[in-house]
Amino acid sequence: MTDQKDFVQIRHAQKAFGKLEVLKDISLNVERGQIVAIIGPSGSGKSTLLRAINDLDPLTGGEILLDGVQVNKTLPHRQYEKHINEMRQQIGMVFQHFNLFPHLTARENVTMAPKMLKGLSTEEADALAEEQLDKVGMLERIDYYPSQLSGGQKQRVAIARAFAMRPKLMLFDEATSALDPELVDEVNQVMKTLAEEHMTMIIVTHEMDFAAAVCDRVLFMDQGVVVEEGPPEVVFRNPTQERTREFLRKHLAGAK
């Protein structure tokens, strides 16, 4: 276990898709229990950064460490696969489009990975599913298939699925932007609960109000660089950079 301050370390992260440089030397430390929001215009590299953390989009340069262990280690293929699968179990991810498994019920969505990877018995896994789905208010729909759930309900099940692996870190990539406006709140509520439990989270969002209310720190990204970062009061109220001001002007005006 490392210093609380360096729970998540991103050091000089670089990512290029062919010639397109999407992340240009990004560094970021997140303390244990901290909640960081990433905001910025579309195409600025927010998703890519998040997806680099669990190696869905491997970096082309730089390092990512979780709790002192380097995620994107250089290892022979087989060993790397084993290593990354173990790391990913510790990093929960929630996607914009939920990506629930449509052929499995809410219960099975939650229990599949714990059963396969942690050797939980059916009883243990069921207890876990009940606990996690209860936490997101979905216990009543435990045996429903995703096709029988609303967007907000799907996203809550997806959060329960990620959380069932007892991750050290949760990543949210615009978890509410595919939802009808009236369903946003139920998902935000669940995320607030996680925040109260001091889950370490990195949240990509376009909801400035939510970010201001829940997050300890806000990063404003544009064109693959962190333009500005700081506590939400500062970034939202008194941004120092012109690009941040411009983005917030557009965004807050558009949102109202």
């Binding site: 669990n54 869905l56 696969e81 699968n85 173990e86 990913r88 179990q89 990093i91 929960g92 991810m93 996607f95 489009h97 990506n99 629930l100 498994f101 449509p102 052929h103 499995l104 019920t105 599949m112 990975a113 396969m116 990877l117 298939y145 096709s147 029988q148 997806a158 699925r161 990620a162 692996m165």
Partner: protein
């Protein structure tokens, strides 16, 4: 000489036994082709060239030649290299492989059209690529091709009559044998046709049940 169905009851047991063989062979070949086509699809999509290529060759042979010939080859041909299969087994293997190969491309396409986010979500919780394919991607691909595969099973049922040529006493051959004794081809071929039709209806009924069952989980 008019039609006379009065001889039918006397030979009903032979015909019914033929039905049982037809159903048994069709089901066994269906199961074989079901798993076979998934295996062929996975090999075609995910294995290196040295493994993939021989299978492609086998696939070409099965697609580009008559099923009848394949049955002869498996039953009479393999004996020469020491593989002496009972006729019914040769029939099941021939039918099963033939249909597996014929439809593996259907599954390949279905696998490739499963949303990319599914693999990502599975990898994100820590599943390996193989585990994700097995538990997440392939089950969804298979569900999406159940209706065309259902139609295929009907074709398989009809083609199962071909195994009569290697001496399996399924429905068609049973009818022929009875006709050999009674000289009443019209009555007994008609009867065999009726039984095929009934089995067909039964299969469609089961398939509809399956489709209804999986309709929520898609």
């Amino acid at each position: 000489m008019g039609l006379d169905f009065s001889v039918v009851p006397q030979y009903l047991d032979i015909i019914l036994l033929g039905c049982a063989w037809t159903i048994g062979i069709t089901l066994a070949a269906a199961v074989l082709s079901f798993f076979g086509r998934i295996i062929f699809a996975v090999i075609a999509l995910y294995t290196p060239w040295v493994i993939r290529q021989p299978f492609r060759l086998i696939a070409w042979v099965f697609m580009g030649t008559p099923l009848l010939l394949q049955l002869f080859l498996i039953y009479f041909g393999l004996v020469q290299i020491g593989i002496d299969l009972p006729a019914f087994l040769a029939g099941i293997i021939g039918l099963g492989l033939h249909f597996a190969v014929y439809n593996s491309e259907l599954i390949q396409t279905a696998i490739l059209s499963v949303d990319k986010g599914q693999m990502e979500a599975a990898r994100t919780v820590g599943l390996s690529r193989g585990q994700a394919l097995r538990k997440v991607v392939i089950p969804q691909a298979v569900r999406s091709v159940i209706p065309p595969i259902g139609n295929n099973m009907i074709a398989l049922l009809k083609d199962s009559a071909l195994v009569s040529v290697i001496g399996v006493s399924e429905l068609t051959l049973s009818a022929q044998r009875v006709i050999g004794r009674t000289y009443r081809p019209f009555e007994f071929y008609l009867m065999a046709a009726a039984f095929y039709y009934v089995i067909n209806l039964g299969m469609e009924w089961v398939l509809r049940k399956i489709e209804r069952r999986i309709s929520l989980s898609r």
